[in-house]
Amino acid sequence: MKEKKSKNKYAKYGYLFSLPFMITFLVFSLYPIIYTFMISFSDLQGVATGDINMLSNPFQNYMDMFNNQTFRTSLQNTVVLWISNFIPQIVLATVLAAWFTNKQLNVKNSGFFKTLFYMPNIITAASIAILFGALFGAPTGPFNDLFMRFGFIDSPVHWFRNPTTARATVAFIQFWMWYGSTMIIMIAGINGINPALFEAAAIDGATGIQTFLKVTLPQLKPIVLFTLVTSFIGGMQMFDIPMLLVDRSGPDNATLTAAVFVFNQAFGGARLWNRAAAASVILFVVCGIIAGSLFFFFRDQDAIAVKKAKKKAMNALKEGNA
């Protein structure tokens, strides 16, 4: 009873500490978001003035977007590009994290490797785009030269002309830029697992792979969820590399992402602010529904898993003490 009271006494600090976030959000973000929402129902195109005229059919822009073949393509592309870079990324990041945290394996110079793997992330997307643009040059370029020398290909490949290779290239660059950062998060996740669980597994005589599958992976769920949600949200906004590397849309729109589509609507010659805004709102809703369901679906399971794990850990500890 006493505890409850004292908690209520401190509740105001919860509000107080969240206040700077709320105020900043209200001042700097809310107005632009509402503004965007408003212009998605308006006729604002060309010169962006302060005046907003509502359309007689306020949902016209949304209908335009639903009927817009290019927008649908861009949404599909975004999902395809995200999945094809996220799966290898999370797999590699998890495997590396497991290696680096495995005391038996005892990888030497792991600090050195960890430091290097994150490095692609500190270069600007513009530099990376120039760099890979040159690497994948066609007909003459380093990769073409290399692959032809080894006999993988007979004639130069025009990487950015074929939709599949263009997508693969973009996905590869995204993967390469982000696996290090995901690895750091995964290592953090493994570090957060109660060491008693690993000790218990060792006592049970589990092999490295068994420990990884039975202890590490289930315990990592909340972190995988974190990575999944943040990467999904980031992936749905993928912009820099597709924009800079393959001239905005890629061959036959193969690498046109939703964010690039929005950019083209808003900042192309026609400056279609209203349609760009409608497309953004749709993107937000789609993103919210998918991320929200990911989040809640995994969260319930995760809470159960945590409870179970705790019990198991406590038992293990008790046994250890006895």
């Binding site: 973000s29 270069i123 600007t124 929200g292």
Partner: protein
Amino acid sequence: MKKFKIGKFFLYLFLIVLSLLSVLPFLIMFVNATRSTPEIQQQALSFIPSTYLVNNWRHLMVGAFNPFVGFQNSFIISAGATILAVYFSSLTAYGIVAYDWKFKNAFFSLIMTILMIPGTIAIIGFFQFMWQIGLNNSFIPLIVPAIASPGVVFFMRQYLQATLSLEMVEAARIDGSGEFATFNKIVLPIMKPALATQAIFIMVGTWNQLFLPLVLLSRQQLWTMPIMVAQLQGNIYRTEFGAVWLGLALTVLPLFVVYALLSKYIIAGVALGGVKE
């Protein structure tokens, strides 16, 4: 045993290949910074340094390019945004994790919702708003909004759930520490590894951003490094690519330093998760 050794050999080989892939772009960047424009145009990538470093530097120093001003501006913006983001996100996360209040869950859901808003959506409204209230040519719109960084709050919350012991907070209270002081003196130090990890992420992001500063800052004395490098590419009829690469290399150097300083936390690793000790 032997099998294990072969396995380890391949493991190291794999790690070394990945490392090379990571180093490659930096190597090319620094090598290209020493090459002349025609050399780069004839062959974009090379591992053999050339002799045009001084010449590229001279081309770099023409016009608006002033690395000292650029560094200073970039530093103010990225250091400001990073400090505000990690500090206030930690504070917000602590407010969510350590206290029970009525709208706590609603507030956290709101943060998650904000996280899902596509960056491009608000940018149109954002820069028009900034122009309207006269905050163009000011660093405020580039620094202050970092206080509300939903992704960082999310991360910090995960971290605090794993590491924060409420007993410790309670003990501090008994010692007569105020809530704010407890946060600053006890909680923040616990969060150091998480702060370092997020600080790198945010620092890199703000240091490299181009679009927003470009639209907001029209006065050259306010320009950041990426804007200055981008304007080197400005001359479509005759871009000095050697100078551009030198500019890009210079831009990334300070990040190297910051990264080197903070990387020990990354190497040591933070602990994240839903399981408390």
